[in-house]
Symmetry: D2
């Protein structure tokens, strides 16, 4: 049964495993202080165009978000997120676990705007309420949408004006950056946000996320926070080696391009057949609306997530493609529509 | 420069990487609900002789300790640990991060005894103090010592009598179970403790720990806790596959035996040369006492940890061997003594 | 300038201070284990019709909510509250500070219903999301509305069916119980909820809230939680003495009646003049909608809270009466309308 | 049965209650923003000789310590305390509840010294351990001892040199400042520490502690922290009024003097009778060592705490005097020796 359930159904791109294989019996220092991690950090600093950026490798997305927000916020401060934001919905309260409220804004496309944030700020007036301090966005979003450069600039200016941190969850940053709707670069993101992470797990790595901290005041003692949250990886070089490989010869972008192409193929086929979509996505997630009958039929041959009931007859499903999605899988799905 | 710094200087045993390679492009369900993880759990249940045991795979030791203790303790309850216990010293307050005090007992050999615990209980008399509820031990300990079956039984009975949970940190459980001083089995441990973990990271896995929960009341909803603490691994099968391989053909024990043998070789050579030890270890850690001069000389050719100053002239160093330690490395070290 | 800003602008009802005066130099045991606190607990047990109820006296409402919810919930569990609920808006994240998410339901009148809660439950499907476990309601609500017996019964049955705790914040319970819309008694509340508190601070005490725990499994070791959260009051008898006095000769109800009568007087006068209200309250809070001009004029002579802008011209204000509100104050306000 | 159990067995000094009585029906703004609290803050600023000091009134000692340390420390930072320190022993893990470890130093007299702190610092070397950042001392200590000006200066210089905060728990500051062994003033303390609190509860107030924050970087948004920890007192003026009265006409010092005099009377009588002491206290706590027989006999007529068994026959008891201790009570005790 072919799966469009998520972008972590397979292992890693073979080059990743080969790189691990090749270095396997070398001795290195632990906890990410090894040479490979060092080189990977330098490589990422250069890719994001900021040699002062701090780069930390962590194992997964929830861990990265939790550790970063716990480090960046004072106890009484809150994060602002879209209601659909991963930290608000799908991290089992990992942010609240560190003592911070997530305040939310309703948004149709999963993206925040200055005016949505302003409403939140205006509501929070004094010390009887939490103090919103960090804006959490994801790119691509949980709905597959992407921020344009203009949108991110406006958010960035707004956050500076209101003394807010801007944090970007890049679990699916690859898929965003190669989307046909994208006009952002890694360098843009590094210059417009205070911190962000480049997701490896969902784009060809075995696992791993690269957190990039730009703002000076957020850098201090971050390794203490990683350890405190159980995220200090003993054989840290395994993360470094993966990111070194991912960013060699454009592999990271190539893998994301494949994922997006497979997704657009699905989208176009679905559009041709007249399906509506719950979100207009140009990345590796598609949200077609189908009748329950159609869904039941497709479930006989494919795995995917059921996202939401629209009414008695119709529901939204989610189709996810990845670096590993095969043309054959996609074509078979289209045939079965 | 050969390293005796720790037991995670290398990658994984080649069989581990091969197993990952072989299954790499299969599609599986995420988050440890896949077939490989399922089989690995069953295998471990059978090895520990308890088919009702809950088995969870986590990425690292601090994460496992933090998640387990946060799940097992009520907010006002505390863990009791040896002063040298990993959770007390080397986890950057990961237990306190979840709101729990670690109360400690002084002990020369890193092991707790009923009478040490009793003293702690007698000191904590009412609601103005934390309520000690969980006894944390490590086997082998941070000093390389191991618990005998008799010692563990006495602890176990004591804990039952005083309504305490007994939790065993098995980061180096392999090294303990194959030590010449050991008379415990995995089944003994499962029947004498309420929960424990089998360490993979320090015994040949790329990474990973297998938490085994025995006591019924500690099992409920544990996966929520894993996710909340950022430890729910997306490609969970990677952990399952590793543990399946580790416990095939006795690999786990063979690797630990190699580590202990290399360590005993160092110990015997050191003893012959007349060195004293800070701890009488029969596992993969050795703590010889050396003059600062000797240490400086050895540091020119080898990497190891400096543990503690004894006086102006002498210090304790720590030598760690692992599945990957080479005979040549050990012989070279001995030659340089 | 007469104040309708809140119900804690004045000190205590004179009888409260006299009771403190009379017992002032007696020696008692600390921390609420004294005779006065003992008697007050028994009195409240008898008033709520449950001699097994646990009664704890705490200093304030946020402290009570925080301590209770932290005690009742497991780390990954969440509270469900109306979007307007005090714990969601006005406690500076005190619930999140203890690691718990507050998930909310939108409601026009500040009250929760089974169907609103059901929606929340249906959204939270697995371990990737928090587990809603406790329903938080306030009576009277932050909008001055009250739950009818029928409504509370339906909530209670629903919570039992879905294995949820029902917790009632009674910061303004007096005002609710004497409202002309009320048909609940303290005994009803004790039999329909799992825990609730009787607010003293906002109804004539100098300060103090009486938490009543009904459900057996929530009682254990609660005093540890009070101390852990800094709420164990050294001279605990001061709380006991106040509640003993409050519930002597119906004082508690009489004070609330006065507050509600003053409020209804304001309401009727405002209605006569044709004002609309943002909430249809029959307790001690009124929410008239006024033009900004009118508000500005009234602010020259009175203190009150500005709650929300309706549009460019109109806003909602909040008028609060209390045990201490004078007829003269009310009449003067009405005159100035 | 006369009680020497603690210094909060009685209510408040009558002048405190009279001051509350006199202002009782005035309307003021809530949460400590009223005029009385304002004046009390100014008065304390002037008494401590620092008009920039921030003064906050809180309800009790554990709440004050918890809120202050949670505000001052970053998540991975720890407090250093004497093993006997209140935050380490008698606050049910209230500091750990906010995520911070308390690391301790063994000390015979309850006092910390630079060399004891230095040992702690040297042990904590990197990000695998918590980062000690705040030195917690109490004056008078839990053993009744006091810091001399010279000792506090040395601590202060040391803390500045090592970039540590110095925090003084003044639950019994009155008793310390009037002790015959004292040479410190409030002004000295304000110039030598970064924050401290002046205890009201144990020196004649009904309840209340005045936290004084000296160091600029610790001041920001502190009211958010008070609210978040459930310590924002609705009728805040009740705290302000009490401190205004306490520091009028030297009342605070006079009450402490009485307490210390009663204590010294006990001490001298005990010394005359040849009793040994577990601590050489010149404040309001005395720790005589008695045979169990003697203790049993005295317990027939008096209440006091049993602190510790010395051996089979002898134990340490604690006698506490207060502003309210009567000469008759003391004389009767002496007679019964």
């Amino acid at each position: 049964m072919y799966s469009f359930k998520n972008d972590y159904s397979e292992g890693a791109h073979p080059r990743i495993l080969e790189a691990l294989m090749k270095t396997n019996m070398e001795q290195t220092i632990g906890y990410g202080l090894d040479e490979y991690s060092g080189k990977a950090k330098e490589l990422i600093q250069s890719l994001v165009g900021n040699t002062n950026a701090n780069v930390h490798f962590l194992v997964g997305g929830t861990q990265t978000n939790q550790t970063a927000l716990a480090a960046f916020l004072k106890p009484y401060q809150a994060a602002i997120a879209a209601e659909t934001g991963h930290i608000n919905v799908h991290e089992t309260g990992a942010i609240e676990a560190t003592g911070h409220k997530v305040v939310t804004a309703k948004t149709a496309d999963g993206k925040l705007t200055p005016s949505l944030i302003k409403e939140v700020l205006e509501f929070h007036t004094d010390e009887h309420m939490v103090q919103p301090k960090l804006v959490y966005i994801s790119n691509s979003t949980e709905l597959g949408t992407v921020y344009s450069k203009d949108e991110l600039e406006k958010l960035s200016y707004f956050c500076k004006e209101y003394d807010l941190y801007l944090y970007l969850d890049g679990a699916r940053l690859g898929a965003a950056l190669v989307s046909e709707k994208n006009d952002l670069t890694l360098k843009d993101i590094a210059s417009l946000t205070d911190a962000f992470y480049i997701g490896g797990t969902k784009n060809g790595a075995l696992f791993g996320e690269a957190l990039v901290i730009i703002k000076e005041e957020l850098k201090k003692d971050f390794r203490y926070m990683i350890k405190r949250h159980g995220g200090m990886f003993a054989k840290g070089r395994i993360l470094g080696i993966q990111f070194l490989e991912l960013f060699k010869d454009n592999l990271y972008y190539n893998l994301a391009e494949h994922a997006d192409q497979m997704s657009m193929k699905l989208k176009e086929a679905l559009q041709e057949k007249g399906y509506q979509f719950a979100s207009d996505s140009y990345t590796n997630l598609q949200f077609p609306i189908m009748t329950n009958e159609e869904i039941a039929r497709l479930e006989e041959s494919f795995r995917f997530e059921l996202i939401e009931k629209i009414d008695e007859d119709k529901s939204v499903i989610r189709l996810v493609t990845s670096f590993a999605t095969t043309k054959e899988g996609v074509e078979e799905f289209i045939k079965k529509l």
